[in-house]
Symmetry: C2
Subunit: 248 residues, 2 copies
């Protein structure tokens, strides 16, 4: 059995942010599996089969990848950003744990990528330069009460915060509620970064004080970063720089 | 004035984890500035001056980079991992804020890299696949009481946690204290990953239950990841896989 599964991070969009390690895995693959827009980033070639699937079928996709690898195929499961941050790596291991015992003998590797919050932070300056949390605001897979609890504790600890999936189509009111909670606990001037489609032609960055942050400023392609109490803006002729100093 | 400053992340060590974007900046640079072991990773070439400096002189190094860029040089400040995570990007903006007003007109960019916790998580499985915090355990730049407060709140919120700089030479007792706090708040079986020198020839990964975690298992080249209450191990013939499921 010479098959394998690699779960690879393609980064936020710009091909210059794909690591050589991931490129090499893609060059050796017989099959690429993933969500439609991520598979669309892979150039077709002879000997490579592209398997694009819709959102919300992560477990089926993962089982399909493991099944093909068990048959001797070399399978890359592609994720946007980093596969270990709210992406396909956990789904693959859920499928592994629930699936055929034989799958556990497979060669499975996770290859890291540039995750959205770090690409967004780099474009804006260095808002995550001190202690921070990453929170998935989608309540598809966890109760909203837990999200709310984590928001309050993160604010109490004065962490900077990065929010993934801030505003889903199915439950857009969650992000509005998250902003309310932050307004109860943080100063009005606390800077909030809305970073949409970072490193793509649609990239759009906006920095506003918490008091001016609106739910409509985010969609599913946006990562939102809320500064700590120390995060601040340096105004420059080239635009604002958002950063958190290292010292308290 | 055609000079610029790029703050670039070299990733955790393996050259296959350096992005093409960072490679391109290094190829255009006239000067590379950074901590000795990171500058040692840059191949010398004609037209490139390497400026290696010791640890704990981050602000001087940053000011030097800005000064050279203002003179028209093309300067890359190199960081290990991602420059925006407990690294040189915040130091550069501190120096910019405190320095000459003319510096604010400079072309300054931050180029993201693969940060240690995500490289370590990928090697171990997907322990950061759900909400998590990143905490710098060094108390060089913040009071220990704040670190302790953040540890308790992160545990209360059931975040997975990644610790950078867990055990400094100057204050090794901090990490022992952190483990005590975790033992007060988390179950004995909570998995802890010690990931040392990930992606280098010295790489060493160890997963132990919290009750068996010892301060000596970490040094300054180690990133420590503590799972949430849901994080678990899948035993396989190739070794343990550590992961956090997506669902609560």
């Amino acid at each position: 059995m010479s098959g394998w599964v690699v779960v690879a991070g393609l980064g936020p969009g710009d091909e210059a942010l794909v690591t050589p390690e991931v490129r090499s895995a893609l060059a050796q693959a017989t099959d690429v599996v993933g969500y439609i827009p991520y598979v669309a980033r892979i150039a077709p070639r002879d000997g490579l089969t592209l398997h694009a699937s819709d959102n919300r079928v992560e477990l089926e996709r993962a089982a399909h990848a493991l099944h093909m690898a068990a048959e001797g195929r070399r399978v890359v499961v592609v994720s946007s950003g980093d596969p270990g941050v709210f992406a396909m790596a956990s789904a693959l291991f859920e499928a592994l744990e629930a699936g055929s015992a034989a799958w556990r003998a497979l060669d499975i590797r996770v290859l890291p990528g540039i995750t959205a919050m770090l690409a967004a932070a780099a474009k804006a300056g260095a808002p995550l330069g001190h202690d921070f949390c990453a929170i998935n605001l989608s309540d598809n897979l966890k109760p909203w009460a837990l999200i709310e609890k984590r928001l309050r504790l993160a604010a109490e600890g004065d962490f900077a915060m990065a929010f993934y999936n801030p505003r889903s189509k199915s439950r857009p009111e969650g992000f509005a509620r998250a902003l309310e909670i932050l307004r109860e606990t943080c100063a009005d001037a606390r800077p909030v970064l809305f970073a949409r489609a970072v490193s793509t032609p649609q990239e759009d960055l906006r920095i506003v004080p918490l008091t001016d942050a609106l739910p409509e400023m985010a969609d599913m392609r946006t990562v939102v970063i809320v500064g700590s109490s120390l995060t601040r803006v340096i105004e420059t002729p080239r635009g604002p720089i958002l950063y958190t100093p290292r010292s308290v």
